[in-house]
Symmetry: C2
Subunit: 277 residues, 2 copies
């Protein structure tokens, strides 16, 4: 997907919501277990119920890999279902991959050629040649980890460098030389919304993928205040707060309502920031 | 596998060789393509031909994931084949995973519960709670990325910190508080063999997984000189130089000879360092 398309979708849907498909078998409504592929049935209902309020879906690979071959089948079916029925969805593989060049190339093929994701999250520790193979596919995106939303983020990401910046800032600055805002986004955790202001000084134009709103405790208004730019520039993820809001047979309707609530809040923020009228 | 078992295997086999199963479909001998599962046929022959000279095998997940469900099947069959026929093999999932706590937990289950790997490589960027879920399984190991063998290693891993050490040294020091040498190893690239001396000052007792000998240009004698400790403390990986040494129907015999060459060199180094007599 091109950047212009993504921005158009945000304006048309009045939303910058990404629904995280962290579809854990032990957490989905138990009546779905009677189906041959409960995870796919769950995803399908969640996708149908929330897609009108979302511009993106983000399966986290761990939840599918943990089920072995069955899980990969559920994932492939989910990707196909979204791309066939809702081609305007920006589809993110939350995989946090990264390896030496020839190996990252194989991961890139897995996500972009075999599975038709639009973007993949990549870990920066191994540097340029672990990231650039993902950048060779047209209209596909790297979403590089910069500042994550977990406690462990404080272990290494905040370390001061000799240039008097933090490691996550060095990651953002260095990676600017690998690709621009048409191919690269960054993960910035919502639990540190005030850091978004500093990050916007380095990358005013890039999209940021913001996890951690909802179950992880971040505030949407704060994220918009510090992180929104003239194109919106934000994709905010919510997983558990939407997909596991209810565990009865009515779960999809509840997810629909939860996604709608978030979309309405996002619509107000987009209006307040003069992105839509 | 326990640390004592691993050390016994090294002494008995007079080897610290890990054979990397980077089994790329376009690189395996073409006569294998007639089989229903060419990757598994390739792995089986490579494993049978080299296991007497190796203490470890290391499938790199990217090469399996890039083939989708078929690739995951090949991987599962490979894991089962090794564990059934050669239970003394230390089996490493080279996956370089790492995510927030509840997600790393799912990856840990994928590799340690569903697939019976002994160890998994983990990326440190997201810090403690992205690593510790992998440490909760008995006799299973985390192999944390410290200093990798690729060019991109220079982007972030060598950055100086306020404590006047490099980021990869901080990663090693900080992670000492998460687990000791009975649960944790580190990836240290062979292309920087002299750095091993500095690393040994921080972690004299830990095992190091050393990729980059062979195709990536590192020297085995240098690695042993700077990195070997009283228990050996090294697992040295070779992938392409062994598994793709020949592409004819004779490939397994050639791999056997290549692995034997490496083992003989390792035996000399183990004798020189008084680890075996």
């Amino acid at each position: 997907m091109k950047r212009t398309e993504l921005i158009e979708n945000i304006k048309r849907k009045k939303s910058f919501l990404c629904v995280g498909l962290d579809s854990e078998l032990s957490k989905i409504p138990q009546h779905l277990l009677k189906f041959e592929d409960p995870i796919f049935e769950f995803n399908k209902e969640i996708i149908d119920a929330t897609q009108q309020f979302a511009i993106s879906f983000k399966p986290n690979l761990a939840f599918y890999e943990s089920l072995g071959v069955k899980g990969i089948l559920s994932l492939e079916k989910t990707v196909d279902y979204i791309k066939k029925n809702y081609p305007d969805i920006f589809l993110i593989a939350d995989a946090k991959r990264g390896d030496i060049g020839n190996t990252s190339k194989m991961y890139a093929e897995a996500f972009f050629k075999n599975m038709n994701f639009d973007a993949v999250t990549v870990a920066p520790y191994m540097g340029s040649d672990s990231v650039t193979p993902f950048l060779k596919f047209e209209n596909k995106w790297v979403i590089l980890l910069a500042l994550t939303s977990n406690d462990g983020a404080f272990d290494f990401q905040y370390i001061q460098t000799p240039s008097n910046e933090k490691i996550f800032e060095t990651v953002i600055k260095t990676s600017q030389t690998w690709a621009d805002e048409n191919k690269m986004m960054y993960v910035v955790g919502a639990t540190k919304a005030n850091m978004l202001a500093d990050i916007r000084k380095i990358i005013p134009n890039h999209f940021l993928l913001v996890p951690g709103v909802g179950a992880q405790g971040g505030s949407l208004a704060e994220v918009a205040k510090y992180g929104m730019n003239k194109d919106c520039g934000l994709i905010v993820n919510s997983s558990r707060a939407i997909i596991f809001a209810d565990s009865s047979e009515n779960f999809a309707n509840v997810a629909h309502e939860k996604a709608k609530e978030v979309q309405l809040e996002m619509e107000k923020l987009l209006i307040n920031h003069n992105i839509i009228s």
